[in-house]
Amino acid sequence: MRRAGGRLKRRVRLVELAHARSGDKGDTANIGLIARRPADYPILVKQVTAARVARHFKGMITGKVERFELPNLHALNFLLHGALDGGGTISLKTDAQGKVFSTALLRMAIEAPR
């Protein structure tokens, strides 16, 4: 627990504030990250940036991270390029189609209001 910007914050895993589903397009994994409560969407927009996600997955993906906003669905969509060891049939990974990549993102620690 700490004070930031004059408001009490707590550090939580992203899974407490969001849910997600992921899939593949070739060697690119997509992660759709959705706020569990619409009111928490701005927290995701502010803290779960493309740069932050790229750091989170450092060493696990070879390409860049793109982020798109869907305020209507209180969701963010991330494209993780070079995430699937070639993707689809080429990949040697258990998760060759990135089906559970989303849950790895939900491990990220973020700051939430108390």
Partner: protein, 463 residues
């Protein structure tokens, strides 16, 4: 805000199969569990076409989703009695043969004169490939930019993704069952909506709405409680999960529902998860029929197991079609062994080092060697290793995969797993499956082609 009551009978399109291999009970339950007008079934994953092409090259009467025939045998009498129409891309690389097999089945069931089958072809570009390349259509890989001629001699199948309009044509010609080859997943749902609601080729918002409807139900139960993270333990009766149904009105608004007395859950959370599934730029969901803007979608829970979708905006379609090419890439194999406590992870790590050294000492060259410790890091990589109590794991599965352009090294690798049981680290088991088998890799090559180069063909077969 005022709202008008929906017209008495919206058009109802039921999802029956989200992929080839999906639950066989789903289509039967969709056509018997309550009123539906259309049954939509998606069979074709990206590399399915190459498998079907191979089957067709051995037997010209094959090359379609064979499971479709016994399924149709089971439900055809119900379809005819209840006047339910079907759209399915089960035709693979041989829609005409698929239609002939369905027609034969219908005759055997005594349905002569009671069924019309529409066949959509024209997506198959394999025979035309050299001509297209010669005329300057490079079919460059959308991911890498390389021209197709780099792998031309290894191409196994090439299909353009057709949109909804050829299916609309078939429905207008009176088809009760429309069988296609490579058609977009969304087109299978959009076509009945266009046909039933009288939408025009340039009603972009409506076409986008129908495309969104198709995207929501194209993966079957993934929109009705399957594979949904939110409160997953409280999703009722997944054993009897109801597959999703689009209940649409001509103004382009629609509800996602399921039959009464089925399990699963239709919620905003679940529908949202499906909307973002396999999503690229949400402002540009490109299909042959339109460009849908997913940032305009409004979702609202309208009661238990009913989510309303409205507000969808669309833009004109592009002048290109996506082409899916499958080509032979090489070989791969995956070997696994299970190590038990104590030190399960350390034993598995030691075995991996020994295995890699032996592969190196044998002088085997691989494009890639990939190691995972299942139970520790297979799905979350180092993110999991950091904070899991891996050292105390009761067991860890060592999973090593190799990939090569040549068969020889992969074949040799498969013989290096079993010896580790007796000549490697202790407490190892889980080799009942025997030596791993080398697998041929058929890879996927996405490209674009000028729309004018592809001419869909629609025929009608009367039973």
């Amino acid at each position: 805000m005022t709202s008008h009551p929906p017209p008495p009978s919206p058009v109802r399109i039921a999802a029956g199969q989200g992929f080839w291999g999906d639950w066989l009970e789903a289509p039967y339950r969709q056509v018997t569990g309550g009123p539906v007008d259309y049954l939509m079934m998606d069979y074709l994953a990206e590399v399915t076409m190459s498998i079907l092409q191979k089957q067709k090259s051995r037997d010209p009467a094959l090359g379609y989703a064979k499971d479709f025939i016994p399924l149709m045998e089971r439900i055809l009498p119900i379809l005819v009695e209840r006047r339910i129409k079907v759209t399915a891309n089960a035709g693979g690389v041989n829609p005409r043969a698929c239609a002939a097999a369905v027609a034969e089945t219908a005759r055997t069931l005594g349905l002569r004169g009671k069924l019309k089958i529409g066949v959509v072809t024209g997506d198959d570009l394999l025979e035309r490939l050299d001509g297209l390349l010669a005329r300057g259509h490079d079919l460059r890989n959308l991911d890498t930019g390389r021209p197709l001629r780099d792998v031309r001699d290894r191409v196994l199948s090439a299909n353009a993704y057709l949109g909804a309009w050829p299916l609309v044509d078939a429905l207008r010609k009176g088809a009760d069952v429309v069988i296609t080859g490579r058609v977009t997943d969304t087109g299978l749902t959009l076509a009945p909506l266009i046909h039933a609601c009288g939408w025009q080729p340039d009603s972009w918002d409506l076409l986008a709405a129908g495309t969104v409807a198709g995207h929501i139900i194209e993966c079957g139960a993934q929109a009705s409680g399957g594979n949904c993270l939110v409160d997953w333990e409280r999703i009722p009766d997944l054993a009897n999960v109801g597959y999703p149904i689009v209940e649409a009105r001509p103004d382009g608004t629609f509800d996602i529902v399921k039959h009464a007395r089925t399990g699963g859950r239709i919620s905003v959370a679940g529908v949202t998860e499906q909307l973002v599934y396999e999503m690229g730029d949400p402002r540009e969901y490109i299909t042959p029929d339109c460009v849908a803007d997913f940032t305009t979608i409004d979702l609202r829970q309208m009661g238990k197991d009913r989510v309303r979708v409205s507000g969808v905006r669309g833009r004109p379609a592009t002048d290109k079609l996506k082409v899916s090419v499958a080509y032979f890439y090489g070989y791969k194999a995956v070997g696994t062994l299970v190590y038990a406590w104590p030190d399960a992870l350390k034993k598995a790590q030691a075995a991996d080092r020994i295995l890699r050294q032996r592969l190196e000492d044998l002088g085997l060259a691989f494009e890639s060697i990939h190691t995972e410790f299942v139970g520790v890091n297979a799905t979350h990589g180092r993110l999991a290793l950091d904070d899991s109590d891996a050292a105390q794991a009761p067991e860890v599965q060592l999973r090593v995969g190799v990939r090569s352009r040549e068969q020889g090294p992969v074949e040799r690798f498969t013989r290096e797993i079993a010896p580790l049981i007796l000549n490697g680290p202790p407490s190892v088991t889980g080799f009942a499956g025997g030596r791993p088998k080398p697998e041929e890799i058929v890879a996927y090559w996405p490209a674009l082609i000028d729309k004018r180069m592809v001419e869909p063909c629609v025929e009608r077969v009367d039973v």
